[in-house]
Amino acid sequence: MNMEIKVLFFGSLTDATAVAALNEVTASDTAALQELLHQQYPVLRTAKYFIAVNRQMINKNTTLKTGDVVALMPPFSGG
């Protein structure tokens, strides 16, 4: 079964992706999603960001299901 999820990019990550969101991305878990995104946008490989699933930060691989919203959030430093 295809898991269709939405991915949001914040801050300077959109410099790499050129879009703020991707719809209908297929990935079974966050590790697979990262692998997919890193292939599509190699700059993300070395970028600093954390991942949130449905507005909750995660710090280990997390299973995804259809309708989930995954956010990639980098640190900001400007002031």
Partner: protein
Amino acid sequence: MAMNDRYIRQVILPGFGMDAQEKLLAAKVLIVGMGGLGCPVLQYMVAAGVGTIGIMDGDTVSMSNLHRQLLFHAGELGQPKVKLAAEKMKEQDSSILVQAYPYALTVSNAAEVVADYDLVIDATDNFMAKYLINDVCVLLNKPWIYGAVSQYQGQLSVFNWREGVASDQLQPINYRDLFPVSPAPHEIATCEEAGVIGVLPGIIGTMQAAEAIKIITGLGLPLYGRLYNYDLLQARSYEIAIVKQEDPVKIDQAFFEAMNYDLFCGQPEEDPDMHDIEEINVDTFMQLRADPDVFVLDVREKHEYPAIDFADAQIPMSELQTGMAALPDKSICVICHQGIRSVYAAQLIRARRNLTVYSLKGGLTAYFKKES
């Protein structure tokens, strides 16, 4: 206190009263950075009646500051920001004590300055200062309010707020739970490089001031444990619940003293590739450790388990500054429990010894997972 009409419109608010006003008067707030964020923070802290305010910044006013730092004007170019700001705040309300620190926060002055305040507001524009504020506030058990901007977006959160956790035994969420390792130089562009729209730090700084008033008075629910992201172009906010790291960086005196914030957080004038550490996976690690020209360094503390037999040396992170001279002139592969401390250690070694340095991604946890 001699009550006058100055605060009457907030004192009559439901839940506010003289009680909250007196808490503001008794409060001591340190604002680090007197730029786009710091200007509105300071103005609202003074206007709200916060009794003692420290302002810290080593910069002088420049023309490119003026579109977002509204305390200053073109006739003041080249003058120290905190001196000007303190003078202006005296005109706004001479009963407020504004203490100016006309220099940057550093590892050697941080603890002494911060110790005199109850709450720190991060209005800085660089990672070095943000990590330094975080670590010194954790060490001294002070809450701090994070604010930052990037082009058209801003971030805000409250860290290390003791009242946010149920038990004294629990460590409140801090900035290193969000981003354990600081970005390499140039990895994240500064305002100078990437640009910023003037009104954005005005919005984020004003929100930081609002959080400060809530923390001081006990009103409402501070933005603790939540990262608030504001997108000015879309006029949308996005909030993320922060989760504490399972193996958090232990911020103690030894860690604080061992950190070189200038090196780790990257100053703009440095070589951008200088501290970009290659993180290797377990398969690559297995190849490297078999190579006699690669030296495997374990930076875990002596009490950490499990014991391993494949490290060429163990120098705990807390002793690395002094122990580094013992490293051979070989490529160094640094390992630790989770692969976070090893990145710091690798950065430090690269900076001091100029050797090729790797860090095992995921640390020994990833190694043993692969082995089993």
